[in-house]
């Protein structure tokens, strides 16, 4: 297809069509809901491959596949999409996760809990969410970004609140109120930013708002407004408390999308909005943010170690990992920023695998308490093996893709802030504790009563996890193509922030 093909719009529209088809499925054909959802999510995957092929990697630092149309000219909003290397990498990662989430929900939503209609609604909302995800990573208009940033809360809210566990209502409200609060503060910043920009019918285009001169005080306030929203979303210490509750009570598939993809919008927003729009304020705030990031790393890891609930544990590991991502972004070296971008992709794969496998375990056992498991390695060897690989990716074992990104972040940070990097390295040690100790408690030792007959992974479940592990291995050994996507945007970002890169002398494992 020609390069003029509106790839990004197609990527947004296709899942919406899928959701509409699911919603309008005639009563007789409702049993095919799973097939329809899987088909659409796989077709979306093909589209992403097409978009990747249309994307010119040699110019990965620029935004490509651009489309700009007027949307609400009277308030300056446009429908503008375009991706640089980071954006398309995140879109690809998200789109890869959705069919796996659909596969993982195959029986979990529906067989045990009411008619298949529940499953149909679940799948339809998931597809709507996918459309929002693609659009938010592609948005090149601040207003459009904001609209998606807020609107995507609603599908997640329904996914948690309708399909989650015991305390799902509490978790859903907490999630929504936290996010809305941050989002509304950001709204004021968005409005004020527009007034300082060029204005007019295209006044919200990110490109038109980049590089405007702002009064330093105003800039700091605006930065704070955006950053708060993104920090809640990411989530960072001390505004992370909604995440464990949400992850504990949501279905594993929802958690995968929530933690693996949606929270990336927070760090992605810091990278693509906070830094370019408010360069001076970003430099001003960097020391503070770095401290928060390091606290997040250690705090998340320590709390993960103390968790009794498997899903909460994974949530806290993510708080720690998001600390690394934010650390890399605000360390302002090309190595650390590229590392953070790559980290976002890898974290999605790794957390997705952990949540999905943990979901299979929990579903079989009927409990999320780690103490209710034990000695499962002999009973379900495949599950044990895949969980171990996913866990090792969380502690960044060399050979897995997460190692490379974490290494880049730490090396890049060390070049500018050695102390922060050294303290953050403790997080890696703590990760070893929470991963290996969890594995030990669940899979080793004597088999607990009642677990002797636990069935191992079914073919469908293997298919839901295998692509993630394969992707982590491939990117772990051949990270080159992925790094080609994220390095040029990192340089562009640094130019926009206006800091000189600190060269990293020993730039390892390329």
């Amino acid at each position: 297809m020609s390069s003029d093909f509106p790839w990004l719009t197609a990527l947004v529209v296709l899942p919406l069509v899928g959701a509409a088809v699911l919603a309008l499925l005639p009563a007789g054909a409702r049993s095919s809901a799973r097939g329809v959802a899987l088909g659409f999510s796989l077709a979306e995957l093909l589209l992403v491959v097409g978009a990747l092929s249309a994307f010119d990697t040699s110019r990965a630092g620029e935004h490509q596949l651009l489309e700009t149309h007027q949307w609400i000219p009277s308030i300056g909003a446009s429908y503008a999409v375009g991706v640089d290397g980071v954006g398309i990498a995140l879109i690809a990662m998200s789109v890869l996760l959705v069919p796996l989430v659909v596969l993982a929900a195959w029986r979990e939503q529906g067989s045990s809990d009411g008619p298949t209609d529940q499953l149909r609604a679940y799948l339809a909302i998931t597809l709507v969410l996918e459309a929002f995800i693609v659009a938010v990573f592609a948005a090149r208009d601040v207003f459009f970004f904001y609209v998606l940033f807020e609107a995507m809360l609603i599908p997640v809210y329904f996914l948690i609140g309708r399909f989650g566990g015991a305390q799902r209502r509490y978790a859903a409200i907490k999630f929504l109120i936290y996010s809305l609060f941050g989002g509304l503060i950001m709204l004021v910043a968005v409005i004020v930013l527009y007034q300082h920009g060029p204005g007019g019918a295209q006044g919200f285009l990110t490109d038109n708002l980049t590089g405007i001169t702002l009064d330093p005080t105003t800039e700091k306030w605006l930065f704070a407004g955006f950053f708060l929203a993104f920090a809640i979303k990411a989530p960072m210490f001390p505004v992370h408390t909604w995440l464990p509750d949400a992850a504990q009570n949501a279905t594993p598939g929802t958690s995968t999308l929530l933690v693996g993809v949606l929270d990336k919008v927070g760090t992605f927003g810091m990278l693509t909005l906070c830094l370019p729009l408010f360069p001076a304020a970003s430099r001003w705030a960097a020391p503070f943010v770095i401290v928060l990031a390091v606290v997040s790393i250690l705090y998340g890891a320590l709390l993960a170690i103390g968790q009794k609930d498997l899903m909460r544990l994974i949530a806290y590991t993510s708080v720690s990992h998001f600390g690394f991502i934010v650390l890399g972004i605000f360390a302002f070296t090309s190595t650390s920023v590229a590392g953070s971008s790559f980290y976002m992709v890898n974290h999605g794969l790794s957390t997705g695998a952990l949540f999905l496998i943990a979901g299979f375990l929990v579903q079989r056992r009927g409990s999320q308490q780690i103490a209710d498991f034990g000695g499962l390695q002999k009973v379900v060897p495949i599950m044990a093996g895949t969980f171990l690989v996913a866990g090792l990716s969380a502690l960044s074992l060399p050979g897995l893709s997460t190692f490379i990104s974490e290494f880049l972040v730490l090396v890049g940070t060390f070049a500018r802030h050695p102390a922060a990097a050294i303290v953050a390295t403790l997080g890696v040690v703590l990760a070893a504790i929470y991963v290996l100790w969890t594995y030990q408690r669940i899979f080793t030792g004597p088999v607990r009563d009642g677990l002797e007959t636990m069935p191992d992974m079914r073919v469908r479940e293997r298919w839901a996890v295998a692509p993630l592990i394969a992707a982590m291995l491939v990117l772990g050994f051949v990270p080159g193509p992925a790094l080609d996507l994220v390095r040029p945007p990192a340089h562009t970002t640094l130019e926009q922030v206006g800091v000189t890169d600190v060269p990293v002398t020993a730039e390892g494992s390329k």
Binding site: I72, I75, G114, G161, R162, I185, L187, V188
Partner: protein, 565 residues
């Protein structure tokens, strides 16, 4: 010497049609046989409103090019905002009347068969047995609408007062006409009337003071006079504040909001929808004109008043709504909070402020009518299967989303629009007023506004949780939700009522008094006759469409947002 003013009937047509139709409606009441009276009245009312809307449309282009004209010797101004507001009121009135006219599957409308009868009396029982219908509601609605059409168009203080009374008196009456919980309804009517009379008196006093200052009732003269300093400034300031108080009362702003929850709760639900939407539009229209054309010269003196009222309205509305347990009261306090949000746009004092307020009023009205339409259909059903009044306790709404997904989804949509979630019309409205406020230098108001929005989101979202996520056992999948023997579940049960026996025959088993409630009821959704369903559907579709593609309406409004001085 008195000279008769030249009457420009063409520009008066929207108002004249509605008021004339109201008068004819009273005659219809006398001459049309009871059998077809309701049908005739309904058709006639809708036709009159549609005709008035056509008249507005006919004037549109001329006003857009000329900027507006003064009629009746300058007492009325037909300019851009007037036409936009009149069109908004008419559209909302038509939709609201569809809900008013819906008798649902029970065949009973929202009004007492004979509103003049004493609750619980033999007279009432007789009227009910005879199946009387109080079709006077339609002419009353037309009178109220007529007053509303004049209210935002007035350019002199006396007409302002007359319009206020014309729109208020029918509303006082309509409030007291509920079929069920009649004492509550009459109490609400009484409160509304007393507080309304008080507010009118304040306003009239203010008018007198301002007249004393400027020796003119015309807005334009007063505005000119304000420009030239005199030693009567105290008279002017006190007068202006009193007039503002009268207008803010109608808007439902703190501290003049006390009537809102009681009246919203007591009035027949469809009337509440009409009142909440249309009165607010008309009152904000009048307030806008007063603030923009009369007192800009007093901006420095009155800003502190308006800012205080705005912040108090947003905060009080939001905070008190959080602790309400009755759906209609929640919506009432939410309307108070929304009055505050709209006021942020009013305070902005620029053209963007006007257009954003006009847009906000329209989308708020749509969501309000839709929401009250849904409340009208959610009923209690007693153990014998008789459908009673609206199930307004929040706990009664648990699990509605599972049994009636479309109805609950549209209600959720209205709530999300109230909450200002993007991709609903409410978001564009909020964005408009907040950015207008920030533009006009009132960014602290915008900040308080978004914080209040976050708080408000909490109680909207809580209702969504209740409807969709509550643990209610699934009702068996029988096709007819309303006709099915709705299962009693723990969550559905109301708080235990008093031990009033309802051993009355079919048709009489409606609770007429406040306290009279059967011990156990279940929540059920009655089927609409079609009219309310159409109205709810229209509101829902418009809420989504205006949220995603607001440009046509925004453009339409934007070119019509300049007041004729």
């Amino acid at each position: 010497m008195f000279t008769a003013p030249h009457v420009d009937w063409a520009h008066l047509a929207p108002v004249a049609i509605v008021l004339l139709a109201a008068v004819i409606g009273v005659l219809l009441e006398a001459f049309v046989p009871a059998r077809v009276r309701r049908t005739v009245q309904l058709a006639f009312t809708l036709a009159a409103l549609a005709g008035s809307l056509v008249a507005v449309a006919a004037l549109w282009h001329g006003v857009r090019t000329s900027g507006g004209v003064k009629v009746l010797g300058g007492s009325l101004v037909v300019d851009g905002p007037t036409l936009v507001l009149q069109a908004t009121i008419l559209v909302l009135a038509i939709i609201a009347i569809l809900v008013v006219a819906d008798r649902t599957e029970t065949g009973e409308d929202a009004f007492a068969p004979s509103a003049a009868s004493v609750p619980g009396s033999d007279h009432e029982a007789l009227a009910r047995r005879l199946g009387l219908q109080q079709t006077e509601v339609y002419p009353l609605l037309l009178f109220a609408t007529g007053g509303m059409l004049v209210f935002p168009a007035t350019a002199d203080l006396l007409t302002l007062f007359v319009a206020l009374e014309v729109l208020s008196l029918p509303l006082y009456l309509l409030t007291g006409m509920a079929r069920r919980r009649r004492l509550l309804s009459q109490e609400a009517s009484m409160k509304y009337f007393l507080l309304g009379a008080f507010a009118s008196a304040l306003m009239l006093f203010g008018i007198a003071l301002v007249y004393g200052y400027s020796s003119s009732l015309h807005y334009a003269d007063i505005a000119t006079k304000i420009g030239s300093p005199t030693d009567l400034d105290t008279l002017l300031l006190v007068g202006s504040v009193l007039i503002l108080a009268g207008l803010l009362f109608k808007v439902g702003a703190v501290p003049f909001h006390a009537w809102t929850p009681d009246v919203y709760q007591g009035a027949p639900t469809p009337i509440t929808g009409f009142m909440a939407a249309c009165t607010k539009v008309a009152a904000f229209g009048a307030l806008l004109r007063f603030v923009y054309t009369v007192i800009p010269g007093l901006k420095w003196d009155l800003d502190v008043v308006l800012w205080t009222v705005t912040i108090a309205t947003m905060v009080v509305g939001t905070v008190i709504a959080m602790v309400q347990t009755d759906m209609k009261r929640v919506l009432a306090y939410s309307s108070v909070a929304h009055a505050g949000f709209i006021l942020t746009g009013v305070v902005a004092l620029d053209a963007q402020g006007v257009s954003s307020v006009l847009f906000y009023l329209f989308v708020y009205g749509l969501a309000t009518i839709g929401a009250f339409g849904v409340v009208w259909l959610v009923r209690e059903r007693d153990a014998d299967g008789l459908v009673l009044g609206e199930a307004t306790h929040l706990s009664q709404w648990a699990g509605i989303g599972r049994r009636h997904p479309w109805l609950a989804a549209s209600f959720a949509l209205f709530l999300l629009s109230f909450a200002g979630i993007p991709l609903t019309a409410g978001f564009i409205g909020k964005f408009g007023v907040f950015s207008a406020a920030a533009d006009g230098g009132a960014w602290p108001l915008a900040l308080v506004g978004v914080l209040a929005s976050a708080g408000a989101a909490f109680f909207y979202v809580r209702i969504v949780v209740l409807m969709f996520f509550a643990d209610v056992p699934e009702v068996e999948e029988s096709g007819e939700p309303a006709a099915s023997t709705a299962s009693v579940s723990a969550d559905d049960a109301v708080e235990p009522g008093t031990d009033v026996e309802l051993a009355t025959p079919q048709g009489a088993a409606v609770a007429t008094l406040v306290e009279e409630r059967p011990a156990t009821t279940v929540t059920t959704v009655v089927r609409s006759e079609g009219l309310a369903a159409v109205a709810i559907g229209l509101c829902a579709v418009a809420t989504v469409v205006l949220g995603v593609f607001p440009t046509p309406v925004l453009d339409l409004v934007q070119h019509m947002s300049t007041f004729l001085p």
